[in-house]
């Protein structure tokens, strides 16, 4: 399972980079979302995966003993997902405005502000 998630994270990252390198604004957003997902999966698997082992002190024991699933990475990616949801909502509106104002979604033609 861990290997599968690692591969999935890598695949998301690769797909994200590929989309980022395209010229379309919509693909740019999709690429960033993919890379974001890749990071979330990476954090999820960072400390190893444990199935069916909730971090609860078992009957008759004083402290939590290994193995147990670490709840912190899940809390972290939950936060990261919520934040990226808000940010991408903004970004989608932004590219819609850019499309309306400039009349195309070609990144190569967004050069007016370049130094």
């Amino acid at each position: 399972m861990q290997l599968l998630l690692a591969l999935l994270s890598g695949a998301f990252f690769a797909a994200g980079i590929f989309l980022l390198l395209r010229r379309s604004l919509v693909r740019l957003v999709l690429g960033l979302i993919f890379i974001g997902h890749s990071a979330n999966i990476l954090i999820f698997t960072a400390d190893g995966l444990q199935r069916g082992a909730p971090p609860v002190v078992r009957d008759g024991q004083e402290i939590l003993t290994q193995p147990y699933a670490d709840p912190l990475p899940q809390a972290l990616i939950l936060t990261a997902i919520v934040i990226s949801f808000g940010v991408f909502a903004f970004f989608l509106v932004l590219i819609k405005r850019v499309y309306r104002v400039s009349g195309h979604d070609d990144l190569d033609r967004l050069r007016e502000t370049d130094a």
Partner: protein
Amino acid sequence: MTLMILPILLPLAGAALSTLFRRSLAMQKIIAVLVSAAILLSSALLLRLVLAEGMQVMYIGAWEAPFGISFIADTFSALMLLLTGVLGFTVTIYSLSGIDKMRQCYGYFRLLHILLMGVSGAFLTGDLFNLYVWFEVMLIASFVLMVLGNERAQLEGAVKYVVMNLLASVFFLIGIGVLYGKTGTLNFADLAFKLSTVTDHSLVNVSAVLFLLAFGIKSALFPFFFWLPDSYHVPPPAITAIFSGLLTKVGVYALLRTFSLIFVHDQEFTQPVFLALAGLTMLTGVLGAVAQNEMRRLLSFHIVSQIGYAIMGLAIFNAAAFSGAIYFIVHVAIAKAALFLITGYILATRGSTKLKELGGLLRYSPFLSILFFLSAMSLAGMPPLSGFFAKFALVKAGFEAGQHLISAVALAVGMLTLFSMTKIWGEAFWNERSVVGDAPRPAITPLTRFEHSMYLFPTLVLVALTVLMGIGAEAVFEITDRAAAELFNPTTYISTVLGIE
């Protein structure tokens, strides 16, 4: 203790209150001025407290480190908070007339509050993931501030700005993930403590590089700087002033904090990287600036160049260089914000910031010219202004540490900075181009006396600060020396936060 949380709570309250009064612009203005003054006051009191009683630690929700999130105010953090207070206050006053009514009606002051909250949080937190959250708070406010006004150039600049900063956030997250997988903690002090026992540095170095990428993009280091000159010149100069003063400095703060506390065990690997990046950042930034003929773009390139100096302090890696870097960050935030505020005044009264379309400012606005001259010379590093002492401390530390090349680059870049500042001075202020034959072009929107003073008073405050920081350099260096000593020798930091001996 409560003093520590005020720089975060006050702007939050300000944002909430101005949302309640969203129909009354007058109330929003009063709230903005009062709140930013209160932030300034509380951050000044916090610095005084830290200087008198040492580092302050606060465990949020009373969850002790490393389990909960801790807020830590050491001398460096407190000094950065005071800087936030000063810039927040001056830019708020300036915005009363420096930001047009449409932007103010669409929630400018609220966004400014949220931006200040994010910046204060990033300076205070002692937890890596919490730092990410504060970065995002700050970024989302800055995204909206950048597009506020809906001009075509703003939208275009914002696309570049948003994409690069979102990418940086992803790298930051991946770095956090790798580091958490290795150590099982996210608390700065606990990370430093745990990593000191780690012998295999390969995975730690991977996350170090990811953090370097993330913070390098956010602070506009070479070679990740290109988004900054493409986007910082599009919003109104008041917004650029607060961006240049605070946002990139948060990136530099994060670099200084993490690479002096957490990633210190493989310096043969990190220090040469930083030396090269610092030198190249300085050089490319200033060369880009020399080629520009528009004040806002020119100054945006200088932001990049100045970041190199701050990183140079980190690259030399000793207490004297840290002290110089911290002094430099404070100096450049103030001098740069002053320059952008002056640019905003020129834009409002002359209708352009292109050097070719300006001229004769020395004759028409002698007071403004003095303010510009002082802040430009301070940026270029002329004694007795703050820029001189900042560069002097850094270059001296560089030569003493045997880093001759980077010190020579720093001196050469100082010369080029002086050159591009005199270029603005010569074209916009000294040149009598628009004087010949006819009177000066009138201001595009005639300014009232009140508006004039609202433009010039905050600028005067910032310029006075850069002069005072130069004249009273010894007193400032006492504070930065202390901050640098705490950074360079983090054992007190670690033991205070973790509560161990």
